[in-house]
Amino acid sequence: MSGPCDGVEPPRSFRLRVSAAFMAGAAALVACQTVPPDPQAALIAKGRDLFFNETFAGNGRTCGSCHRELENFAISPAFIATLPKDDPLFVAEFVPALKQNFENPRLMREFGLILENLDGFDDLANKFTMRGVPHVLALRTSVASPQGPRTGWSGDGAPADGSLRSFAVGAVIQHFTKTLNRVAGVDFRLPTDPELDALEAFQLSLGRQADLALPLPLKGTVAKRGQEIFLNNGLGKCNVCHGNAGANLAPGNNANFNTGVEDLPDQPARLTGERIPRDDGFGIPGDGTFNTPPLVEAADTGPFFHNNAIETIEGAVAFYNGQAFNNSPSGRFLASSDPNGVGIRLDGTQVVAVAAFLRVINALENIRQSIELLQQAEALGFFETAPAQALLGRAASETGDSIAVLSGGGLHPDAVAALGDAKRLTERAARSLFNRRGLAREAIQAQERARVQLMEVRK
């Protein structure tokens, strides 16, 4: 049978024939596995390396210091508690030049809050905000707006042209500096143009590359009802701003709103008595608006809102029932266009149903990502152990998230069991010397079994 790499002459003697066949086979294997280099893949790989390893000659932090891959590119207080004392995240605790006005270690450790000088650096003791770390998944779907790119919690996270590409420049200046002088070339170095290109490519490669098309053919009774409420513009009204559970009013139209989060009573971080100025959101001075984040990734990326004010996805949905939202410009607007003058009013069961819907679509996205990672690991050659183990580790982490997201809401125990199988198979694949690909294939099948429990899947 002729293969894609023909042209090997048969040897005369049997021994020579076997030997030559082996050599030719090996050569053909190598030759046939060689694929032309993919420039975009190389750029993304370079961006990944920069994101997790490049300190830009600063205080030791990288982008990955806050945007942890195993934390869905965010960071939670629970994860922070597992870090060693000398982790660069804690530079304010051990670098004398950064002890004052760089971070608030208590609020970082207890609530995962990071200090930002969004309104300027002229009064560091009094002009700052405390914000959570937003995940950077599905950025391809959420940055574009008719008014220009929107990045960060308030949509204005990047200096210069405000683009995702420029975001790293502002992040280095704000978070990577060795001293509060923030002198380029002394306290840090600024990313070069090729580095900005690579970082942007990497970030755009993360997570979903397109929005969902709701409604999905969900199977779970409560999640199905949650989807109905979500899409009902006379009841949940969620889809008005979070179109298709994404971040947009319409494709390419990400927007900012004042939803009254800053007016929440009993915000956990403020209960500590630590000084936290009001966060004025977009612009200098701010207009009180914040950027709409995507919801598909919400359930496993809490705490929620720009100030990590709410811990659970149920609490985040319930926020829209409260006075803070309904008295806000956005809540009043919804009320003004409602025949009964109601902003958003959901009962407890309805709050839980919407949250169940968000949990299920998050788990479906985790399953999609897990399968993608498992397929990538399966495609790697026998000797590519390290990259395969890295991919399998990420797949196992994603699968752990889907288990936590579903079981946290008491949802789909059958799917949770299948995902448990998938996680065990994935971890075994990562350890296996000879059956990595077979176990990865089995893990994919288990993921698919779980997915079928969550929604109708067309063959």
Binding site: P146, G155, A160, S163, S166, G185, C241, F333
Partner: protein, 126 residues
């Protein structure tokens, strides 16, 4: 229901339209002249100050494409770029726009190029 949705969407679009996206200006202070990604020499001019008119609050830049006069308004931010002398960049004033100093001017309106959104003034040896 679909028309209600599109109506709400359009109205919300108008509600949020006042928030014009712009770069987070705060960290801009620390970016040296010529290094603002996507801005430097695209939406800005870099050159020496060729003239200053305090009465009109204008400054003329010797842009390679020809002299360009821009207005400094109360919204214009002026920063002293002291990177070359390894000192922190600080806010400046109109009086810092002195003839012969190298500056970068970002235009508030990239089409009209008549008003400065910000100006960075390079400070060399003291």
């Amino acid at each position: 229901m679909r028309s209600l949705l599109s109506g709400l969407g359009m109205a919300l679009g108008l509600l949020c339209a006042s928030s014009h996206a712009h770069g987070q200006k705060a960290t801009e202070q620390y970016i040296p002249i010529g290094q603002s990604p996507g801005v430097s020499q695209k939406y800005s001019s870099i050159g020496e100050v060729a003239g200053v008119n305090p009465a009109a609050q204008t400054v003329t830049i010797a842009d390679p494409a020809g002299p360009r006069t821009v207005r400094i308004t109360e919204k214009t931010r002026i920063w002293l770029d002291r990177t070359k002398i390894k000192q922190t960049n600080v806010p400046g004033r109109f009086a810092d726009l002195q003839k012969g100093r190298r500056v970068e001017v970002k235009y508030a309106d990239p089409e009209r190029r008549d008003v400065a959104e910000w100006v960075k003034v390079e400070i060399g040896q003291p």
